[in-house]
Symmetry: C2
Subunit: 149 residues, 2 copies
Amino acid sequence: MPDSEFALETFLPYLLNQAAEASSLAFQQVYKDRYGMLRTEWRVLFHLGLYGSMTASEIGQRARMHKTKISRAVNRLSKRRFVERVRDDVDRRVEHLSLTVKGRAAYQDLRQTAERYEAQLLAPFTVKEVALLRQALGKLTNTPPDFFT
Amino acid sequence: MPDSEFALETFLPYLLNQAAEASSLAFQQVYKDRYGMLRTEWRVLFHLGLYGSMTASEIGQRARMHKTKISRAVNRLSKRRFVERVRDDVDRRVEHLSLTVKGRAAYQDLRQTAERYEAQLLAPFTVKEVALLRQALGKLTNTPPDFFT
DNA sequence: GTGTAATAGTCGTGTTTGTAACTAACAAGC
DNA sequence: GCTTGTTAGTTACAAACACGACTATTACAC
């Protein structure tokens, strides 16, 4: 009765999801416990920490997040004084976002933690393997299959 | 102001999430459009298609899904007659789940689609790269970092 | 100027999820 | 028998998400 020609365990999207979930779990705990942040908020924080001042839609493009997600994340972050919003004088639709001192501190802390965390994740692999893995993941992200059968 | 020592674009959990999302998207559309299924339901369907009759908790262990997720997925699947539930005579807490004819048809269809889909995803890679990728993802899934700093 | 389209960001509502509490059935000790 | 603990699965409620509709502002055409 069982059908073993096609193994779910090797189906790539499934594997990717499992790995993504497993590798996010422990770190998720960190930013949640220390700063009460959600993943969306942590991503916004990181983008601002990395690139300095950005607008919501710039973050959206880089992070491939929907603007409603960003809007809400920014809202929460600014309510807790991690993020500062400054309206653009010229185009008053636009808001320039940047980290407050508190936000920068959180970012620094989480960034360091992330580095150490990643080192643990990558420990079982060789340098070459890591490079290949990163490259492959990038390719998979940027080559969406045009699939409508 | 920006800080480029640590690039978010290379942070592994981030990459994994992006790749997982991108590679799931198109296929998600398929089982959603054709059968109105959610990812959880698709997973349950696939496990039952692959392994034949299983209980909810067996699926949970294999798929690393929480039992409430499975409970709801099975509920929806059985309401739409994709899945049949039979209570165990000996241990009446247990339910044996299996696919109906309709469920098996959906499974066959989606399985074939999944195969072709995966072939597209893997097209840009060599056989060796694919093997390494699968192996790496497996390792990442099964080596949860013990991280509580 | 007026009208139309586009863009930045927010809000509202239904859906899905996560967490914990719950019921029902079994098991083991006494 | 009667307790205590464990397991299978469900339910309840709050948190998070997706999606579309919405406001406000700018841009462009005429």
